[in-house]
Symmetry: D2
Subunit: 260 residues, 4 copies
């Protein structure tokens, strides 16, 4: 094959491709809020084989990522490429007897992340995401410390879809559940010449070097909006639980696919 | 299948999907510039089975599109979704005895267009594109008339990749070639669990209702830049030909795929 | 004075200045919707000397502008600089016995327009604005014709502040009032060393070459939102009147200032 | 005065104003590179009363700011408002026998910062700025540690104006000069009814609570570009010196103005 590249555009060198193949590495700052939603609402957004957990648990996660790619040193080198924000909802679900996560909606502010996500089955859309970033000196920002309020929000199609905050009360003694659930994705690439998809399969990422920094937790607020283009209304929180602020890192070395 | 949608995200209604299936309709304003590049440079960017035309002809095309979808009335209804700009290079090539076009690089400023393009095999990246838009009254802009200068440029990764202008001299008696070449695309969707792509095939769009408005032509300028992430350097113009300003419309009703 | 420039940054040539002095020329496409709001709400947003009209008339105006500057040919030449969108509310008011307009809130998607506006006393903020742009061929967009629906919206701080539509029913026999009211602005530039502003005065622009294209009118919809940073709530429409779609052009040759 | 607000837009509450009056607080992460330029080039960009230092010293500074305002708690609370990036050139100069700094060009990615800067006399334009952000865990980013490469770049008008990197070699024993020079600004607000500016004066900010974190230094690279709208060409580096990566915080409590 003369033209090279894991994705389009392909060239002789392969270096114009938007995405290089895994391994991909991630180091980020997370703001997460647990909430519950009606179980039938959650069930309506799960693929076959997944059922909601009994209490309708779900989480909203905001992430300020730095990312790197073993096969493309430009991702680490150029902050405009490797760094991005994302915001997503993760529904807690049972797959057989294993607790898993499912991401029905996710927004990112990066082309690389958008397409790298589509390859994994993350249903990524472009959005505008803002998150409080901790500071270490001065009065211009807030520290990762008791009493500090971390805020985050995401906008899609000109409308606010997620607005959250966490006021740090304590250091949590456990890793926030929102970060540790293994995610079950759907890889989907449509055909152009027929109605059946060209690719339609479940995907579970292969994760390595998972690391979670000190997790701060506290009371949280969460508001879920919607747009003409996103159906988040059904997930209006029945209750809002704790919020978490923490550093997170892991690598995606590949994935396992299963038929749907 | 409970979860519906031509693309992710899938829901019960299918209305959260970023892209709806074709037919897709396009009405736009075009600024195009013909140029030539070294034949070996063009050859290096063509897939197997395509060879450069003898004179190394190529074009740069800027488009200010309005688009619509038969299966999603929101595309026409919301100008933030249906409308976008794109800029691309099209290499003129022979496929057997048929003159075709190949798009090695293309930028758009729209999520919908990015993914709708990937489905067709357009190697779309996100970019910032600006084009002179004609006016009909006043002194704030330029008219589609003799002596008017239409400018266009595209930026990717913070660097100018295409800068062009056309100064209208006359009404052209033919449809600009850049708009009429049938395009040969490569659909490519990578695997996550192995190195072979999940989808890798040629694609030729099925075009209907092609319509070209009055084409104005004149002397043109063209500058091709590059970035750390795009390999346009090889296409530095050997000569710059005429430029064109015209309205264009067509529909994509589907496509035909062929093995690579 | 060695360093030149109508605004910062100043250099020897003056050509780095963001704004060049007037005359400024404007040619644009307008979508406007008339509405009424409670008179006390309107009164609360007017400066001394202006009173609401009896019926609480107001308008929302969206504009897709091309602009030019007599003293900076780059504004016309570079579409990324001269072209921009804006969206604003105009309150109809009496100043003595003269009917005038007052713009309490306005958003633009252009740095040049933001600062050129501040110089005139337009209270411009940055926003994201989208407007249906008419097409002349094909099925990708809508024509300026009976039955066509033109939509427009504006987002500020991640929240939708204005959402409007006009469905064309007829050609209007009058120039839409929203476009013809002389505007009374407040020029305001703060001090850094004391609490009194350095500049605080009324400003009425000197307009030349006013021209309005065919005005199409019809039934309209309008939704006014708000953000944590903008106080539009008080202007929630009491009634929504007709909407208009038309081309507009004029020049600003300077202005007249009056003490507050 | 019924309508309140330090800047436009003014309302009864004053809470729609883009900027609230000082004090303003800043906490940020800095990437800075020292360089030298021809003294006559520097002289051409200085206001009367300032002369270049003998070696033609200058610096490029990138900052990732969190900011807060004593009179508007929304700045700290909303990360989309208080947080932003900026990039600027600072020329080292003598004003009498005092070494000062002068900022001839600066770009920010925030409306609040743009206008807050204009009030102080910073010649801020909008740009797109990216900076390596340090991480504390994982392989997705780089740490503030020996051998790490921090990159930064700024784009204006679709063209790269500044591209820099610092590879950390050591902990610096002094506060980087780029951060400590007192800045001499020009406040400039044009008139609309005559050619003389309405405001034209020097401004020196009143700084409090200046704090600089550990400064890492090392070899640096710097590339200065230009656009049709910015005259940076004269500042092409004669030599590139050390680079610095550090945290910085201070407050602006007001300023002192002097006639020009």
């Amino acid at each position: 094959m003369k033209l090279q590249g894991y994705t389009l555009p392909q060239t002789v060198t392969g270096r114009s491709s938007i995405v290089a193949p895994p391994p991909w590495h991630y180091s980020g700052e997370i703001i997460a809020v647990d909430f519950t939603a009606p179980r039938d609402a959650i069930a309506s957004l799960l693929p076959e084989g997944l059922v909601p957990v009994p209490d309708g648990a779900a989480s909203v996660v905001f992430a300020d990522w730095c990312s790197a790619s073993d096969h493309d040193d430009r991702v680490l080198a150029d902050p405009a490429v490797g760094q991005y924000h994302e915001a997503y909802v993760v529904l807690h679900a049972m797959r057989g007897d294993r607790r898993v996560g499912r991401v029905p909606f996710i927004w990112v502010d990066s082309e690389l992340s958008l397409l790298r996500g589509q390859i994994q089955g993350f249903p990524k859309k472009l959005g505008q995401i803002a998150m409080t970033r901790p500071v270490s000196i001065g009065r211009g920002g807030v520290r990762k410390a008791e009493g500090s309020r971390f805020a985050a929000h995401a906008t899609s199609h000109g409308r606010r879809v997620l607005t959250a905050s966490v006021t740090i009360a304590t250091v949590s003694d456990r890793t926030p559940r929102a970060a540790t659930l293994p995610l079950v994705h759907t890889r989907l690439f449509p055909s152009i010449d027929r109605s059946e998809p060209a690719v339609h399969e479940l995907q579970l990422g292969t994760i390595a070097d998972f690391e979670c920094g000190t997790a701060y937790s506290g009371a949280a607020t969460l508001d879920i909006g919607s747009t003409e283009f996103e159906e988040l209304d059904v997930l209006k929180p029945a209750s809002v639980g704790s919020g978490y602020v923490f550093s997170l890192a892991f690598s995606v070395t590949g994935g396992r696919v299963e038929p749907i």
